[in-house]
């Protein structure tokens, strides 16, 4: 049983099933970031943990085409956490807040065995929201940036190696500038958190579409999760505009497939419990 899918099914309604939930002019997203599940304590500094927890949530707001504005923070920390440690976590959170113009407006702090950060982000729509369910037949499918570095970093850590603080596993690099500018030409989007293969499957499922690859991707590109690059689609007629904006904003994009009628199932393994 996929417990996450089952839990979602217990609350099914029209709001659920995208990176964020749209209510009027606002978009809401919530993610948990937990020691032992998303990171081990010696993998990341407390500041990096704070920073990453914020950016992965901000990522959800961006790909819905909303501006991140406010956040509520649920913080679980062990009883022996020092004030310096709390300061480090909050520094990381505040750095991300400053970078993306977010204000922490509330939250809760409790003692827990393991560090956990539960963030709810509130975004404001600039324009129309962009959903997963709007992938159109014959749309080009593309992703921003490069994929693979996050899984490479994770594998190094799992092999007791170390990684650069610039690794995408440590520091997601959100492609907001490209995305906001390109948004009026984009039909569907989501961020790449579980890996391109699995996320593409979700996008296709939401839109009831299939995929024809036009570019060969390697296993690392397909399987690497926690990339926080953007998977998006656009109509062929906007190809030139998309390429222009990619150039203007110096954001690499890779067009790798076309959407077809039908279905798509990735053979990448699910990480969910």
């Amino acid at each position: 049983m996929d417990k996450e899918a089952f839990a979602i099914s217990c609350f099914n309604n029209e709001f659920i099933g995208d990176d964020g939930a749209v209510v009027g002019n606002f978009v809401y997203a919530k993610d948990l970031f937990v020691e032992g599940t998303h990171f081990l304590k010696h993998w990341l500094s407390l500041e990096q943990i704070g920073y990453k927890s914020m950016t992965v949530n901000i990522s959800d707001i961006i790909v819905m085409n909303a501006l991140p504005k406010y956040a509520l923070l649920g913080l679980g920390i062990p009883k022996n956490t020092s004030s310096d440690d709390i300061k480090s976590i909050s520094n990381g959170i505040n750095i991300a807040c400053k970078e993306y113009g977010v204000k922490i407006i509330g939250g809760d702090t409790i003692a827990s065995d393991k560090i956990f950060i539960s963030l709810t982000l509130i975004g404001e729509l600039k324009n129309k929201p962009i959903f997963r369910k709007n992938l159109q037949t014959n749309d080009f499918l593309a992703f921003t940036g490069s994929l693979g570095d996050s899984l490479k970093g994770l594998r190094a850590l799992l092999n007791k190696g170390s990684i650069s603080k610039k690794s995408r596993f440590v520091k997601p690099m959100l492609k907001d500038k490209f995305f906001y500018k390109a948004s009026k030409f984009i039909n569907s989007s989501m961020d790449i958190s579980d890996g391109l293969g699995l996320d593409l499957e979700k996008l296709c499922l939401a839109s009831r579409k299939g995929v024809k690859f036009i570019k060969k991707l390697n296993t690392l590109q397909i399987k690497s999760g926690e990339e926080y690059e953007i998977l998006f689609s656009f109509s062929a007629k906007n190809l030139k505009k998309i390429r222009q904006i990619s150039k203007q904003t110096r954001t690499k994009i890779t067009i790798f497939a076309k959407a077809t009628k039908g279905r798509y199932k990735s053979n990448a393994r699910k990480h969910h419990f």
Copy 2:
């Protein structure tokens, strides 16, 4: 060091410091409800855990004078949790949602050693928000319902006894009907989660006021936390109206003090870590 207060101080701004954060016409509140901190697993059924986690968050929205509308749910559950168990937790949450007209619009589910529920509630303001910081000198201070039952229940559980499923520790009874109706006559309010003594101290601190007791309360009434009754204040000129609404809505209220200039410090012990 009070770690919660320290964590809050790391993010200080004008939104923080009340039961909920007001942004435009919306009120946001976030609470964590965690096994080992707020409950032991054998104290409450999974359905009761789900129900209580929702109602304590809804309580925060009500005392700000907003209508609870939407919620985002972060759910941490052990790997061996069965689908029946997930169903039980979600049943409890859904019962509370139905009772108060709330829709779950998103969230996240992960594996964790202990059950934790992180809820963000979104409320819509009917009228003016009611803050802690608006307690006026000479206001009457009152609370809804009866205080003490929750601590009595907790003590029974700590002594390996059992409690009725009607105990306030198990099932908070929110006083929304009275509060919404009385709200235009109310100056300041908050819910009683840490105990009347400590919560009164917070109310007074937010408003820079003191307290003169006009009614003797017992230790149980002063110390019992997780009551989710409402502590509120109103001007003497509205006393008759408040009594009327209390009668109309069959909601017991106890007027126990008057606000004064000065400060108030409770000698109740803090539970925070």
